[in-house]
């Protein structure tokens, strides 16, 4: 979420609050009927996750936007078909000197004074061309694959890292906790964007050597890793807090009394209880990761040219906005669409999983 600020991804406190955002609860009713409800909890006997899913199914807005995201993903996955069968070009080929047939009239892809063609709404150059005469629609779909790959990949990695760190630090406490927590604090006190740029710039120069694995400077894995890394503290901290509370619960005590080892307990007792938090975070995390990719690319520390991503396309488009604003509008709008879809859907998921939203009104 690039505010200018700390790519103001939700600050931690805010994330926690955000997770607790209430749906449109009818005010006051909960406390009135709360006691009566406490009684039928055992009667209902439905798993909370099932209840959450039921609530989510009823949230039409969230579902619509969730579907929208699925459509965006599907369209991006279809990039090769569009490129091959409809646009008859690829993401890199430039057509500066070519002409394109728009409804019977031949037009320059890029005019002699350097103005690229706008959306033709036909197969070729459906969304227009950029200054280098490349087909924006094709690049948009391929760029979407890049951005979505980085977004989902980074979000997954963030969650894996955060769960591992949060669980270890919350469960073991003591020195483990001190070391992990302090390290996270330091990362956290660093503006996300600055950290991202620093790592991005440094790694782009010479790649990264991770043991036997060598990652080239222009690999997509580099922005993916950076994004995953800088967001980890934001997620690890709330998870750690949750684990701290879970550790004291009776069922964990019981597991310990049965002689289960700490890792066994973490896997079979703690982890399942973190799942709703993880589910709630996931879509929001992807949205943030896509936005950070865009921000890093804009500042020259993300995906390397000429490979398309929504971020690099926006960044190119912004630089060339004067010759044709569609170069900036198209990728930006697509990114906003995807991120918005995730945010609205994520908002609905959070509402559905929020235990306080149990008492929703039938509409």
């Amino acid at each position: 979420m690039p505010a200018g600020g700390r790519v103001s991804v939700l600050p931690y406190g805010a994330l926690r609050r955000a997770m607790a955002i209430d749906p449109a609860v009818e005010v006051g009713v909960e406390q009135l009927v709360g006691r009566a409800r406490a009684n039928d909890e055992p009667v209902a006997g439905v798993a909370p996750s099932r209840l959450a899913l039921r609530r989510l199914r009823r949230n039409k807005i969230a579902l619509t936007f969730g579907m929208l995201f699925v459509v965006v993903v599907a369209v991006c996955l279809a990039a090769p078909y569009w490129s091959h069968d409809v646009a008859h070009t690829d993401a890199f080929k430039n057509h500066i000197t070519d002409q394109v047939d728009v409804g019977g009239k031949l037009k320059d892809v890029v005019s002699t004074d350097g103005v690229p063609i706008g959306p033709t709404w036909h197969g070729r150059f459906f969304l227009g061309a950029d200054e280098s005469g490349r087909d924006i629609a094709v690049r948009l779909l391929y760029g979407g694959r890049t951005s979505l790959m980085i977004g989902t990949g980074a979000a997954t990695l963030t969650i894996l890292l955060a769960v591992a760190l949060g669980t270890l630090s919350g469960y073991f406490g003591g020195w483990t906790d001190t070391i992990i927590s302090r390290t996270l604090d330091i990362f956290w006190s660093f503006p996300v964007l600055l950290l991202g740029i620093a790592l991005g710039t440094a790694l782009a120069l010479g790649g990264l050597q991770l043991g036997p694995v060598e990652i080239g400077g222009d690999s997509l894995l580099i922005p993916l890793l950076i994004i995953a890394l800088v967001y980890t503290p934001y997620m690890a901290r709330p998870l750690r807090g949750q684990v701290l509370a879970l550790r004291e619960k009776e069922f964990v005590e019981a597991a310990r009394a049965q002689g289960l080892g700490p890792f066994r307990i973490m896997f079979s007792e703690i982890l399942p209880n973190l799942s709703s938090t993880i589910i709630v975070f996931f879509p929001l995390m992807i949205a943030n990761a896509i936005l950070l990719e865009a921000a890093l690319s804009f500042l020259g520390a993300g995906v390397r040219a000429p490979r398309p991503s929504w971020g690099t396309m926006i960044s190119d488009g912004v630089a060339k906005i004067v010759s044709g604003p569609h170069q900036a509008i198209v990728p930006g709008a697509m990114l906003v669409l995807a991120v918005l879809a995730l945010n609205v859907f994520g908002d609905g998921v959070r509402d559905a999983f929020d235990p306080r939203s149990k008492l929703r009104v039938e509409r």
Partner: protein, 357 residues
């Protein structure tokens, strides 16, 4: 007392909430009268609808998913259909409420004096300094020591008992003619509880205000009430004077409640009898008599809803909702001499709500 003109008449009051789990019928056909100076106790277990009844009178349960039926008339004003402005004039000034949890019922970031002055100024043209003096006087009246200093304190600087006194002072600040106290002493120590109850009695005598006491504590009821209404699962199951309810309880549920109090005039028992099972979910109540799944005396009539009717001769005000004849009730009550209790049905249904499903 019942010969006087009632100031509050509640007729067939029903409140239901549409929720995820279905329609929650919190209050179902509740009727009662309240006269000036009368203390009416509404008794029942948690979740029986007594608090909702009380709050509905002040329009505090209004929400988009709430449905109301029946009437509640206060001195000619119909409270259920009253406009926001009308309600605003009545709230605090005519009908005041004392809430259950004194810890949470005061605004934590406002000085207590300010909170009381706010109410006074909402209803009367009183200037700041004057209002403040009145608040200090009120605080002294409810027994808060050093009221002049404490008036500027925040709620967290008070103990629970003191906070409840502040709540009472707040409720009394505009001399209301009806006071609704929702479990006013539940959160308090026994000694404080006695002091607070004593205050209520004095207040009634001083101001002739009527009091609706919502509680599950029969000790408090015996101490204070003139009339009693016993609620179960949203309905009034028995209604009468204190003596009628305590010495000649008609409804098996009332017997159960009575059995659950310790009495020093009876030999000590190893264990207090309890009512087996749980009250039904308000979203899913048994048909007919709601007590059916928990009642050992169930018979053929019970699947029909028993009307609230006077069944005892020579006690027209004593009404109950049980199909059994008064003679049979008396016999059943005496099965276990010395205690009035329900005999557990075997096996005890673990989930009574299911039965009607």
């Amino acid at each position: 007392m019942s010969t006087r003109e009632p100031i509050l008449e509640v007729r067939d009051l029903s409140v239901s909430f549409a929720t995820d789990e279905g329609l929650v019928q919190a209050v179902d056909g509740v009727s009662f009268d309240l006269c000036a100076g009368e203390i009416l106790a509404i008794v029942g277990e948690s979740g029986c609808g007594k608090s909702v009844t009380a709050m509905t009178l002040l329009g505090l349960t209004r929400s988009p998913n709430a449905r109301f039926a029946g009437t509640a008339t206060y001195k000619g004003t119909e409270l259920l259909s009253a406009s926001g402005k009308q309600l605003q004039r009545i709230r605090g000034a005519q009908i005041a409420m004392i809430f259950q949890d004194p810890m949470a019922s005061l605004n934590p970031v406002m000085r207590i004096g300010t909170q009381i002055v706010e109410q006074i100024q909402a209803h009367e043209e009183v200037h700041g300094e004057q209002a403040r003096e009145r608040v200090i006087e009120l605080l002294e009246r409810v027994g808060i020591p050093r009221a002049r200093e404490r008036v500027d304190a925040y709620p967290h600087e008070f103990s629970g008992g003191m906070r409840q006194r502040v709540m009472i002072a707040l409720a009394l600040s505009c001399d209301p003619s009806v006071l609704i106290a929702d479990e006013p002493t539940t959160a308090l120590d026994v000694t404080i509880q006695a002091q607070i109850l004593q205050r209520f009695r004095e207040l009634r005598d001083e101001t002739n205000a009527a009091l609706i006491l919502v509680t599950h504590d029969l000790g408090v009821v015996a101490d204070l009430a003139d009339n009693v209404a016993v609620m179960y699962a949203g309905r009034i199951v028995e209604q009468g004077t204190l003596d009628e309810i305590f010495y000649d309880p008609q409804h098996p549920y009332t017997w159960g409640l009575m059995g659950a109090i310790t009495r020093i005039d009876r030999p000590r028992r190893a264990r207090l009898p309890t009512i087996p099972g749980l009250p039904p979910s308000l979203a899913n109540r048994p048909q007919g008599c709601h007590l059916r799944p928990r009642c050992p005396h169930e018979f053929g009539e019970c699947p029909k809803v028993p009307p609230l009717a006077a069944r005892v001769e020579a006690a027209p005000g004593h009404r109950d909702r049980c199909w059994l004849t008064p003679e049979r009730k008396r016999r059943l009550r005496e099965i276990a001499p010395g205690e009035i209790g329900l005999v557990p049905k075997a096996p005890t249904p673990a989930t009574p709500g299911r039965d009607a499903a």
